[in-house]
């Protein structure tokens, strides 16, 4: 299968002439993302993960190496519009992404820029709003929506442009717990419906929902694999100031103290079953 996104030996710095190569934000990143895949990216601040996100839809161009989206190179100016349409981006702050005075206008904004015919716009708006659970809110002012709903509105605006990939750059970090659940539900729904999802997050719990977890640090991909595999390497994660979710931390801690756990549990249920076995033996 041809990858939908391909990052090949990418180096990046905002001012490459003035900065020694060892301090560049990205230092040889390689990454392939397959169509329909759900990839989480974690990394400490300054690891280059947000720079990588901006390279994936051509908001930034690589200083060296190349980024291809559906086979198109982001350095080709004539392909850039198509690449940006194919790779939608949801940012951190819900309030910075809203442009319309009503929910409907806000969804229409991106399509207007693409020159989508009005009849088509009128068809797509209710479709994406109901997909994001905002049906019936067309006339509302976006400022009356909750944080989670605002992010859903941002996603609806992107969906209306029919992208192949949606990139979430810390899109849950400014939300309350209810808003976070709301957006995580939306991400999982999109994935189930076949959209390729890339989610940059600081939350190990959120990252554990992805098919694959990529750990960025010091401008490179340091680890990747199924979230469970990555999270079982607590020591290495801590080198990058990252922590695995509770069930992995707990297994690690208990094993260190001599409790004969297998260390393979990857959800609460598996861990609880294993602990019941050990604690009832007597």
């Amino acid at each position: 299968m041809a990858p939908i996104v391909e990052v090949h030996e990418v180096f990046y710095h905002y001012f490459p002439e003035k900065t020694p190569r060892s301090q560049w934000a990205l230092q040889g990143v390689n990454l392939r993302i397959d169509p329909g895949e759900y990839v989480a990216v974690m990394g400490p601040n300054g690891s280059g993960k947000s720079t990588l996100a901006k390279l994936l839809n051509g908001l930034l161009l690589p200083t060296e190496g190349c980024v291809r989206v559906m086979g198109k190179d982001t350095r080709n100016a004539e392909d850039l519009w198509e690449i940006r349409r194919q790779v939608g981006m949801v940012f951190q702050n819900p309030d910075n992404q809203i442009v319309g005075a009503t929910v409907r206008d806000d969804v229409a904004f991106g399509m207007e820029n693409l020159g989508v015919p009005r009849a088509e716009m009128l068809r797509r708006i209710p479709e994406v709003l109901s997909q994001m659970g905002l049906a019936g809110r067309e006339e509302d002012s976006p400022h009356h929506l909750s944080g989670g709903q605002k992010q859903r509105l941002a996603i609806a605006g992107i969906l209306a442009m029919k992208p192949a990939v949606i990139l979430f750059d810390e899109s849950t970090s400014m939300l309350d717990p209810a808003g976070r659940d709301d957006v995580m539900q939306a991400i999982q729904d999109l994935h189930r419906q076949g959209t390729t999802v890339v989610h940059i997050t600081h939350s190990a719990r959120e990252a554990s929902l992805a098919d694959r977890l990529v750990v960025m640090a010091e401008g490179r991909v340091q680890m990747q694999g199924a979230p469970g595999e990555v999270f079982r390497q607590g020591e290495r994660l801590r080198d990058w100031d990252l922590e695995p979710p509770l069930i992995y931390r707990l297994q690690e801690q208990l094993q260190k103290q001599g409790m004969p756990l297998t260390g393979t549990a990857s959800d609460t249920k598996e861990l609880v079953n294993e602990l019941w076995g050990l604690l009832s033996k007597g």
Binding site: P44, N45, G46, Q92, S146, G147, E170, S173, M174, D176, P177, A178, G179, H202, R205, D241, L242, E243, P245, L246, I247, R249, L250, Q253, L254, Q257, M259, T268, K269, L271, V272, L275, W276, L278, L279, S280, K281, G282
Partner: protein, 287 residues
């Protein structure tokens, strides 16, 4: 007692069709010098409560006493509240505006009418408390990292030398390391300066690590209070109040379905869960 609140209610736009009761008959006490956590979902009345404690709003009913200053529906002079209580609002770095870090921090104390020497001294002190290296004083705050910008905003508030420091989601949007370090700084200020710290947070993890006492708000009412252990003992009922149940509590409750006797209620931290599991296992092995 540092802060005493009795029968406090607040209605926004009272007497209009848009009247909205944000706070209803809340009574509570907060000890001077303690670290207090306030939790509750969006719209639970937390923000209204902290604005009343800071004297930024006037209550519709009831009263707030901070040390010997009183705020009730008739209070005209709210100056003592401004002097003693300072609030670090959400994303306070959005309010930075000066050319240099030192000038930004000096803005508050200069408005107090202090002499230039006193202002300078307060700026130095506040930077030290907020964990900002003195080399940053002459830099533009806008060239700093997000975490440092937030510390500059915190220092601006500390320069007012309040007796009560209120923080609304102080770690929102920071990475895990930045969150941990900022909370350690705040904890140190509370201990060393004997400041009363009131922190609003969605994170039960943060509250469990730092708060000596916590208050749970739900739909404008105070529904639970106590040490984190006492509040966490409500278990999955926390979810009915719109709170995130700490992961280790979920795990402990799950385990308790099939453990006799059950694990203790109200486990404060994940380390405490680990140690009680280990104790149980060792007990089982030897018995």
């Amino acid at each position: 007692m540092g802060i005493v609140i009795e029968g406090l209610s607040h209605v926004y736009m009272a007497g209009t069709p848009f009247a909205h009761t944000a706070l209803q008959d809340v009574s509570l006490r907060m000890e001077a010098g303690s670290f207090i956590g306030i939790v509750g979902p969006t719209g639970s009345g937390k923000s209204t409560l902290i604005q009343l404690i800071a004297g930024l709003l006037r209550p519709t009913q009831g009263r707030v006493r901070v040390f010997d200053a009183v705020l009730d529906p008739e209070t005209k002079n709210r100056k003592p509240f401004r002097k003693w209580v300072s609030v670090v609002f959400q994303y306070p770095e959005h309010q930075l505006f000066e050319e240099t870090v030192a000038k930004d921090i000096a803005f508050g104390p200069r408005n107090l009418g202090l002499s230039p020497e006193e202002v300078e001294q307060r700026v130095e002190q506040a930077m030290a408390w907020a964990g900002l290296p003195s080399e940053l004083a002459d830099l533009s705050p806008f060239h700093l990292s997000g975490g440092q910008m937030r510390r500059v905003a915190l220092a601006g508030v500390l320069a007012m030398q309040p007796r009560v420091l209120i923080l609304d989601e102080p770690t929102a949007g920071l990475d895990p390391r930045g969150q941990r370090e900022l909370l350690e700084t705040i904890r140190q200020i509370q201990r060393e300066q004997k400041m009363t710290v009131i922190m609003v947070s969605h994170s039960m993890e943060e509250i469990s690590r730092h708060a000596e006492r916590m208050f749970v708000m739900h739909r404008g009412r105070l529904v639970a209070e106590g040490t984190p252990e006492q509040v966490f003992a409500h278990g999955t009922r926390l979810r009915e109040w719109g709170l995130e149940v700490p992961e280790w509590i979920v795990l402990a409750e799950e385990l308790n379905r099939n453990l006799h006797p059950p694990l203790p209620q109200g486990i404060r931290r994940e380390e405490d869960l680990a140690s009680s599991l280990l104790a149980r296992w060792k007990e089982g092995k030897s018995g």
